[in-house]
């Protein structure tokens, strides 16, 4: 139960909102849930709904809308490669194909050892140093095949 495991963090979040506006705490609470379980599990969604006093359907809808909330288990490292227009002009398409080959998975999949998940994302505001990706939300800029391979090989 999230409420037992992360009682203090949850209290800290809830303290930021007036009691009758508890619903506003939904996103920070979902982040706590995702930190704890790696993704927003159905049980965690129901628990968050209970904490903030709304219907689980409403919480599920928020998880579904925002791409940074995961509804399925993801790897230890989540790699989000931008393939929006400026990155594409700098070869993001080819770069993504290389990522797939290197990791042995398709976009949207997780490696069998549970280490890597590969996604493509819309613009992450670093077009000046394309192609660009985020690995667990940390930026890596101006990538090519060699730098990507080195990054993957060096990760514990």
């Amino acid at each position: 139960m999230l409420r037992e495991k992360r009682a203090q963090d949850i209290e800290k979040v809830l303290a930021k909102y007036p009691p009758e506006r508890r619903r506003s705490a939904v996103m920070p609470l979902l982040y706590i849930a995702q930190e704890e379980y790696g993704y927003c599990t159905p049980e965690a969604i129901r628990e968050v709904a209970e904490i903030i006093g709304c219907d689980p359907t409403e919480v599920k809808s928020i998880v579904g809308f925002y791409t940074m909330f995961y509804e399925q288990p993801v790897g230890k490292y989540v790699i989000d490669v931008c393939d929006d227009l400026p990155c594409a002009l700098r070869g993001a398409d080819r770069f993504v194909s290389h990522c797939e080959k290197k990791l042995g998975i398709r976009v949207g999949e997780t490696t069998p050892d549970g280490k890597f998940t590969l996604n493509t994302v819309m613009c992450i505001a670093a077009c000046d140093r394309a192609p660009v990706l985020q690995i667990n939300k940390q930026y890596r800029y101006a990538l090519d095949e060699q730098t990507f391979d080195r990054m993957i090989d060096e990760l514990p």
Binding site: P42, I45, D55, T57, K60, S61, G64, F65
Partner: protein, 742 residues
């Protein structure tokens, strides 16, 4: 009166209240701007873009802040650079709207082409086909041919159960969010939402249980495509095969106006109800009905229906003719020497109850209602009920709703919707007193608790405080129920509440008064026209029970006449069984819990030789020497209105009156308000409360001691666990054995 502003739409100038949306203003002058996501009962969202129009406003000189005029003195109109959604734009003074331009025509065609890119076009197997806004608007405004290859269409899941009653077809959905907004804004059950975005966006439920709402069926009416269908009606009939008859729902005392859609079925040798749809009555149910009203209609063609009179011979009930059965009933009544109990249920229409009462009195019978009909406070409601012209729509800021011992959503679901809107949307104050929580508690500004069954004592103790709260309010509506109260104590509660109205000066005022939560469609009416005795004699020679329904204890008697529609357990006790008709097979009137008398019409032929209750009463009367010659309920109502003072001002003609209602529903406007039916059968009429016509003294109330029987009267829920909607002798037997095992 709201401030009016002038707006010109395609050259027609109209004055509408400030704040009116362009789409509604246009509708009022017959300019039908097409919409999908907009619904006049829901807040606008501007999601579908179907209502794009060209909107201009008078040009204002920034320096002088004056309207700029051309050489002829006319205001210069400045049009917006792009088309604007008519459903989200409120009118303003001097606004000019153009809907007939080439730009608008092209935009409509484009939006429809866009919506149809991923629509499966499976109209031939779609339940909505024939009454589908998407189909109709495509025909009116859409492209004639598709530029898309059918095989290239985006395909999606087709039969997704959102709950036990509603199915979703994800391919047909155009993401208008009407269903989501209905559940959020009207029903307040937040069980539907969007998930994902862009092309992946879809309707989901993640609730447990999933789509569980007393009002879920309404989403299928307002769905502008065939995405939402009911488990009960899907694949059962095409809309154009259906006949319709205007009727009144019988499952609670709200008196929702409904339309019964029927179709010829060989299997029953005649018509059967295929679906129940809401019928617009803005004073009663607007365009909504609850799910019980929508789905509980199969009993009309149940295998347990009684088709022929039955007479007990050598211990067994055997079929007989009406002639034999009526003669036996008449002979038995004549020989009973007045030791007769005539008991009438509260689903019996006014005309029939009136005639039965007349006959009962003429033969010296004790005329009463069935023991589970709360008849003890009907006279209090008649005296202090809501005013003749009361309208829930007017309740708002400054008004008070007091709910005592009342679970409104369970006992009168559509009243729940309307009271909720008065409180949440229009700012009425809500005070609740109950021994447990109800859904209405969510909106209360003050919540009081009393011990189970102690409502009358609580009101008596709090009388001063409550009277003050009532006094401060512009109008006061008091809704009350009889949970855990026996008849005399429920009567005491009603009287105490009536006294509060008197004390606070609200008695006899239009939008104030009592609102009792009766169990069925005609509880008030039966009590009005029958003036029943509230006490039953310990025993009688003959008991004649008419439509008393569920098995229950009857006074011991030597002879039982059971007049029923279904083969109930009670029928097994009978010496004579007289088969009667349901509301669907005849016409008549019901009086709702707020005393609105409404007509219902015949939708189905009679099963077998079953007859209406008034016909049976008249035939028995004639065999007892009375010269009665009524040909129809209309004639009986005329006699009733002459005899029952409260009904004096009513007539069938007055009840059949129809008026223009907003929003326009049905007819050419399926796309606008949904597939609910327009009202051609009459909006009914409420008779005046006695307090409106003369000054009444307060009641002298002594609260009787609670009884075990009263305390055991649990809450009357809309759905009872284990209650069968389709009657089946076999299933019932098995359920009993299951319960025994448990």
């Amino acid at each position: 009166m709201a401030e009016l502003v002038n707006v010109t739409i395609d050259g027609v100038t109209v004055a509408v209240p400030k704040g009116t949306l362009v789409v509604d203003a246009a509708k009022k002058i017959g300019n039908h701007i097409p919409v999908f996501c907009y619904h006049p009962k829901l807040k606008p969202v501007g999601m579908c873009r179907m209502c794009l129009v060209d909107i201009g406003t008078p040009k204002i000189d920034p320096a002088t802040k004056q309207v700029v005029r051309d050489e002829n003195g006319n205001p210069v109109i400045q049009f917006m650079p792009k088309l604007t959604t008519a459903c989200t734009t409120p009118v303003s003074e001097g606004m000019v709207v153009r809907t007939a331009t080439e730009q608008v025509r092209a935009a409509r065609e484009d939006i429809l082409e866009f919506l149809l890119t991923s629509h499966p076009l499976d109209c031939p197997i779609c339940d909505k086909g024939g009454e589908c806004p998407l189909q109709n608007l495509t025909l009116a405004h859409g492209p004639g041919v598709s530029r898309f290859d059918y095989d290239a269409k985006f395909h999606n899941e087709k039969h997704v159960p959102l709950g036990e009653l509603i199915f979703l077809d994800r391919e047909r959905c155009i993401q208008c969010s009407r269903c989501i907004r209905f559940q959020d804004e009207i029903a307040d059950d937040h069980v539907l939402q969007f998930h994902d975005r862009g092309r992946g966006m879809e309707i989901i439920t993640f609730s447990d249980p999933p789509f569980d709402s007393y009002f879920g069926g309404n989403t299928t009416d307002i769905c502008p495509v065939g995405a939402l269908t009911t488990a009960d009606f899907r694949f059962k009939a095409r809309p154009w095969e259906l006949q319709s008859a205007q009727s009144i729902c019988t499952h609670c005392a709200v008196g929702c106006n409904i339309t019964l859609n029927t179709r010829l079925e060989t299997r029953h040798g005649g018509f059967e109800i295929k679906r129940v749809m809401p019928r617009q009555n803005e004073w009663v149910n607007e365009i909504w009905i609850c799910d019980k009203g929508r789905y509980v209609h199969h009993f009309t063609r149940s295998e347990d229906r009684l088709h022929l009179p039955l007479i007990r011979r050598e211990g067994r009930l055997v079929e007989s003719t009406w002639q034999q059965a009526l003669q036996l009933v008449a002979d038995t009544l004549r020989a009973a020497d007045g030791e007769i109990v005539l008991m009438v249920g509260d689903r019996i229409p006014n005309e029939d109850a009136y005639l039965l009462g007349q006959l009962g009195r003429a033969i010296g019978a004790r005329v009463s209602v069935s023991p589970n009909v709360p008849s003890h406070y009907a006279d209090v409601a008649r005296a202090f009920g809501v005013g003749k012209d009361a309208d829930f729509k007017r309740l708002g800021r400054g008004d008070l709703v007091l709910a005592v011992n009342a679970d409104v959503e369970e006992q009168a679901p559509v009243w729940f919707l309307r009271l909720r809107q008065a409180v949440v949307d229009r700012g009425a104050q809500l005070i609740i007193a109950h021994h447990r929580s109800t859904k209405l508690h969510r909106y209360a500004s003050a919540i009081h608790r009393f011990e189970v069954g102690r409502a009358p004592e609580w009101v008596q103790q709090q009388a001063e405080t409550l009277a003050q709260a009532l006094q401060a309010a512009r109008h006061a509506l008091i809704v009350f129920g009889d949970e855990h109260l026996d008849g005399p104590r429920a009567r005491a509660l009603a009287q105490l509440l009536a006294n509060l109205l008197l004390q606070s000066g609200h008695a006899g005022r239009s939008d104030s008064g009592l609102l009792p939560l009766y169990p069925h469609a005609n509880t008030q009416g039966v009590c009005d026209v029958l003036s029943p005795h509230t006490a039953l004699p310990p025993a009688a020679r003959v008991v004649w029970a008419v439509g008393v329904g569920d098995p229950q204890e009857l006074p011991p008697a030597g002879f039982y006449i059971i007049q029923e529609v279904l083969h109930t357990a009670l029928v097994e006790q009978a010496d004579v069984v007289l088969p009667s008709l349901t509301f669907a097979e005849r016409e008549g009137t019901f009086t709702s819990g707020d005393r609105r008398v409404q007509r219902f019409y015949r939708a189905l032929p009679a099963p077998g030789e079953a007859k209406p209750d008034w016909w049976i009463a008249q035939e028995v009367a004639r065999r007892l020497g009375f010269e009665w010659r009524y040909n129809s309920p209309a004639e009986i109502f005329e006699a009733l209105a002459k005899d029952v003072p409260a009904y004096a001002e009513l007539s069938y003609a007055a009840l059949s009156r129809v008026v223009e209602q907003w929003p326009p529903i049905g007819r050419e406007d399926l796309y606008y308000g949904g597939t609910a039916y327009d009202n051609t059968g009459g909006i009914g009429a409420r008779y005046a409360a006695e307090a409106e016509t003369r000054a009444l003294p307060p009641y002298d109330v002594t609260i009787p001691e609670p009884t075990i029987a009263g305390l055991k009267r649990g809450p009357r829920m809309l759905y009872r666990d284990g209650e069968l909607i389709r009657r089946s002798a076999l299933l019932r037997a098995r359920m009993v054995s299951l319960q025994q095992v448990a």
